[in-house]
Symmetry: C2
Subunit: 394 residues, 2 copies
């Protein structure tokens, strides 16, 4: 990819293999936020809601995200956080299958997805069960008691990739609703929610989509079911006529009913600018380049750094856009690497995770990163008390 010019230069002392956690700053995002703040907020004040299209922004940006995941126009809307969107989706699914009491997920799901379901179940207090199985056991665990299958396509630890089409078909065969979390998929690899026919999908935009820290989440609802969704989070901006200020809630016609409160206009300005980069990207090309970078990385690590054990699937078709290695002192080793400017991240208990983002990372970066990793591991630089104190990283 030759899109590096779309981003501000990464710090010269940094090799950034963490775009799967937080993407870098697009040039257009900085300019757009600056303009929005001065000329829209500062210059138009309340009139910005109409004059600058703030009110329509969650749908407009939703369509831009939708194009990357195979969603038709008017089926994706932005807002809130991924946690909130998971709650909305699962609550809606349970209403669609009132006689079933199981939500099925897997142990590779990101914890907040599971926590939000737990919170929903405790709130409902009606005998629901969150059943968590190993990723490879999901297909066999879908039975007629399952109301909803809720999975993250790419395992945040290992990078293992679920087959969306096959698992959605399995869920539907058993009469269950399928919800996909695309946090590590959108902008990382080709996704086609329409083809797989899942009912709902959710995801975040600060990773591969480069929307900035705290960028809002998205939710997709299949067009044919959207009119029947009974929103648990029935906010005024999901109302059919929010500015009538009726005392009673009446949901908007389609996907708009998944809006809740006032949208985060500044964050959306950054994200909307970041999404423009994707207009020049072919997702198949990006996927090929991502795999090429990952293969170089794995080959060099396995040749030069035998202390690390690959925990991602070896078959590139089974991986997202990240590669993870296990190492018992992985936390300290990652701290040592970060101190040398190679930014990956650590996930408990022992996983060193590296993300590959061809928009702004190339093979030279990958080989330079391996050079550092070889030094850190060969010279046991991780064996340093300053690297052993656990700090919060996201």
């Amino acid at each position: 990819m030759v899109l590096r010019k779309e981003f501000f230069d990464l710090p010269t002392d940094m090799i950034y293999l963490d775009g799967n956690s937080l993407g870098p700053l697009p040039v257009a995002a900085k300019a757009r936020v600056s303009d929005m703040i001065q000329n829209e907020w500062g210059g138009q004040l309340i009139k910005g809601w109409n004059a600058s299209g703030w009110m329509a922004q969650p749908s407009r940006v939703g369509d831009a995200v939708g194009r990357l995941i195979g969603a038709p126009t008017n089926t994706v809307v932005m807002g809130d956080t991924l946690s909130i969107k998971v709650y909305q989706a699962v609550a809606a699914a349970l209403k669609m299958r009132p006689n079933r009491r199981v939500i099925l997920s897997d142990s590779g799901n990101f914890p907040t997805d599971l926590y939000m379901v737990e919170g929903l179940i405790r709130t409902l207090d009606q005998g629901y069960e969150l059943r968590i199985v190993a990723p490879e056991d999901v297909a066999g665990a879908i039975d007629e008691r399952v109301a909803a299958v809720m999975l993250t396509q790419v395992d945040y630890r290992t990078g293992r990739l679920h087959d969306m089409d096959a698992l959605t078909a399995a869920a539907h065969n058993a009469g269950a609703v399928m919800i996909w979390d695309l946090a590590h998929s959108a902008g990382a690899l080709p996704v086609d929610v329409a083809r797989c026919e899942c009912e709902m999908a959710v995801g975040c935009t600060y990773k591969y989509l480069n929307g900035g820290p705290g960028a809002p989440a998205f939710i997709y609802v299949r067009a044919d079911i959207a009119p029947d969704i009974d929103p648990a989070l029935a906010g005024w901006l999901g109302h059919d006529a929010p500015f009538d200020f009726d005392l009673g809630y009446r949901p908007a016609a389609g996907i708009e009913r998944m809006r809740v409160g006032t949208p985060p206009v500044i964050q959306l300005a950054a994200l909307e600018a970041a999404m423009e980069i994707w207009e020049a990207v072919d997702m198949s090309d990006l996927r090929s380049e991502s795999i090429a970078l990952q293969e170089v990385f794995i080959r060099h690590i396995e040749t030069r750094v035998p202390q690390l054990t690959l925990v991602s699937p070896r078959d590139s078709g089974q991986r997202g856009s990240q590669v993870s290695f296990a190492f018992d002192q992985g936390y300290a080793a990652m701290q040592a690497l970060i101190a040398r400017g190679v930014i990956g991240d650590f996930r408990a208990p022992n996983i060193m995770r590296f993300g590959f983002t061809p928009l702004y990372i190339d093979e030279a970066d990958v080989i330079a990163a391996v050079d550092h990793i070889e030094v850190v591991m060969g010279d046991r630089l991780w064996d340093n008390p300053t690297y052993l104190t656990r700090q919060r990283v996201t």
Copy 2:
């Protein structure tokens, strides 16, 4: 107040009486966001979570908001939207009173608060009732069936002010949980959540607090009850150890459990800068100046524009920081006023609403606004087809 220098100049052709909807742009907010985007997001990338304190920001800013509403340190946290925070608060309250089935509110509450309760009730499907009475009937309607009383202190249409101390005491006398929405109170008048002893309070920050469009909401939970709250929205950033990535949820010790997903870091940067203005503000002084501006406005309008009928309480002690007048063609009249640069807003069915914000509005602004209103009403400028088409305004 002599704090106008803290804000960018309002457009010279604008008299802004809508700071109760969206505050103007603080100089410090623009600078802070610009710096945050370039140097933190752009320069630190993922390291910003620790290096720039993004992770602690929702609590740090929460404490700043808390100082304006009488909340002790570590009892307020920022995030999400006001709609979401209402849901969290009411869901928590219902768990605290498991044998009661009524949520009491009033017809002067902002609709999204009522909608969110409706959505919660429909989701629970356990015989809960949202009882909506007239504002003056609230105290008499609190009985032993009421689990929670949930009110907005300042009526968004009329500006009518509830007595927080008295109504909280009435709720507690009946054994109900008290939740206050301070959307039109925080930064508008002195508030003391600790003195009134309410269990929870919520509010937004884009109005009087000038946090920018889509600025995050706040939630206060009384310190003694926070450890027993069972969060309905059990997000990972409310987990006791989010970076342990446990499969099971375990709430954080206190107010932190009301956090949900990843915080909106850019919006919080703007808000944090906006909150610095308040360090120089005495809320009693601000309240006095607000009332003085309102009194001038009412006196001039009633003398010079008899077509308008005051619908706000005449007693300034019973009003928030806004004044509303009824006029049957209020929508068109407000459009005509806005066309002349006087920015108030319209609330169905017939209310013309004007907000008073002494941080950046003075008596000369108020009198100039009345001059325009007199012309619009005296010359029937509202009687123009271009002003009759309803558009969305917020």
